[in-house]
């Protein structure tokens, strides 16, 4: 029972992290129909930026987190500007291959800068509030403050994102672009600006997820690939292009993965994500919450 409860909490934390990454994939896909492979790498850089801020510049963790978000937002916008914008009207395959190339390049850039070995967030820089305390649960299970903090942070960011999209002017413009970019442009919406903002928001949320993973697990160049694929699977599960779907998909996938790793085999935790992703694409390409489009290209 205690193990089950711990795995569920583990899954929820993982789910919150996946949801934070998955909205980045799904928002970009919703507007420019591009699987931004490099998003996983932005998430990884987010973890490294915070790591560098804390170790090299001696910043407090609470400063490093927003700095890393800002850096990643800039990075996301820069990637879009340099690599994707020139291909806006090119065949979709070209943009997809560019995204893969970008991902390959950034992952190995991180490897060159920081080395292939994983790094642990320095203990003295980690806020003791988060790591020092645990909350006892019924049945002898325990949950750390950090886990609770990650879940709360993810939930509040998701609510914030939801409000942003439904209540603000730029949110309305984003929804319009997602429905029909050409029509939105004709209505006087600056679509390039909307796309830039989308990349910035998605990347900043990815950075938060990166910092959390760096704090809870380790920071390594390959993390963007592993977690990125799983988060992409979450976005597909929820219905790609659908933001609420991405949040739901993240949580479902996180719990499924934690239970699978706990009860089946931890070697196959990524395999669970792949299997779910393949089954969803084959049997319900629109995902849990997406509109029904059988052969969405």
């Amino acid at each position: 029972m205690a193990q089950f409860l711990e795995q569920i909490i583990n899954g929820l934390v993982l789910g919150g992290i996946y949801a934070l990454i998955a909205v980045g994939y799904t928002m970009v896909y919703g507007i420019i129909q591009l699987i931004n492979f490099a998003h996983g790498e932005i998430f990884m850089f987010g973890a490294y930026f915070a790591f560098v801020c804390v170790t090299t510049f001696g910043m407090s963790f609470w400063v490093a987190l927003p700095v890393s978000m800002g850096m990643c937002a800039l990075m996301g916008m820069l990637i879009d500007f340099v690599a994707y914008r020139p291909l806006r009207n090119a065949p979709r395959l070209s943009a997809l291959i560019t995204a893969i190339g970008m991902s390959l390049m950034l992952q190995n850039l991180a490897r060159l800068i920081w080395g292939a070995r994983w790094r642990k967030f320095p203990a003295e820089a980690t806020p003791t509030v988060l790591t020092g305390n645990t909350i006892p649960l019924p049945g002898g299970a325990q949950v750390s403050f950090l886990d609770v903090f990650i879940i709360l942070l993810a939930v509040s960011l998701m609510i914030g994102l939801n409000r942003l999209i439904h209540l603000t002017k730029i949110g309305k413009a984003m929804r319009a672009c997602a429905q029909n970019r050409a029509a939105a442009s004709l209505m006087g919406i600056d679509t390039n600006r909307v796309i830039t903002v989308t990349f910035a928001i998605g990347s900043a949320l990815g950075a938060v997820a990166g910092v959390m993973v760096g704090l809870r697990e380790v920071t390594e160049p390959a993390m963007g690939y592993y977690k990125g694929v799983a988060a992409f699977a979450a976005a597909v599960l929820g219905g790609i292009g659908n933001i609420t779907g991405a949040m739901l998909g993240g949580v479902v996938l996180g719990v499924a993965e934690a239970l699978g790793a706990g009860y089946i085999s931890s070697e196959y935790r990524l395999a669970i994500a792949y299997i779910i992703m393949i089954l969803v694409i084959i049997f319900r390409p629109s995902g849990l919450l997406g509109k029904s489009t059988a052969t969405r290209a």
């Binding site: 699987i35 291909l87 291959i97 060159l112 196959y268 393949i278 390409p285 969405r296 290209a297």
Partner: protein, 328 residues
Amino acid sequence: MLKKLFTPKTIIFLAAVCLFPLVTYGSDRIVDLLYARNLVLPIPSGDYILRVVVQACLYMLLALGLNIVPGFTGLLDLGYVGFYLVGGYTAGLLMARLGWSYWIALPLAAIHGALWGLLRGAPTLRLTGDYFAIVTFGFSELLFRIVKNEEWLIGGPNGFVNDIPPPNLFGYELYAYWQQYYHILILLALTVIVVHRLQNSRVGRAWAAIREDERAAESMGINLREYKSLAFAVSAAIGAVGGAFFAQFQVNISAGAFEFWESIFILCMVVLGGMGTIKGSVVGAGILGILGELLREFGGWRYLIFGLILILLMRFRPAGLLSARARD
């Protein structure tokens, strides 16, 4: 046809290809000569040159196989390494565990690969674009996880260590690099002929029609299911042949050789030369296969450069180095 094939130019080219191992003999003699005079110059040994060339030829074979799906039918395949893996492990299992001859294991690996191609193709027939790409990616990653973890079947992460015997041809064991060179050369030539014949046939035209516009092709009476399945099967079989060759060439085979980035590396070759052309795949694989080997010492820089090549190509020359015609 024959007259066109045997122009002076092609004869010189063919002779150069067939006599290539002599070059390495020469380079060995030069190294010996310099060594005798206490001179050490960075001239690679003959075996090294041949090994790099054999590997580049293997990549040409793989690039030709991969090219069939994204190049001819326009569906992006991100998991080609899965078939390479199937071929490698099939040949490896048959030869190392059951002691079968390579000459039986090779066609069986090809058939096994084709079966997996059909198996993967069946549920993805109605998918296009990104969704197809993602399923192919997930498929090869699943295969990779399985061979990495299942020790009882395929040795887990270590694979077979020095277990695969060299192919035996009329009592001669083929293990020297020059023998491997002719071995891959024959496989490569057969592949080029098969792919060339397919491309210029009814099948190839049907594939091109599917690539340009799937719905229009279907309404012109092209059976999408049949032609797509055929493309998947042929492409997968070629990949599996490459895997079988790789298994006996490396003597040991392990999961590490079949990671996702290997698929991207092969895709990079096809894109570099120009998708949808035979010449493009061969040239792209030749350039990157040799470049990849030369850059091996630089570790991370290697993949960084490949990523950059993909980005720059898509931006400035989306149709590849050789293709004069811009797609779309």
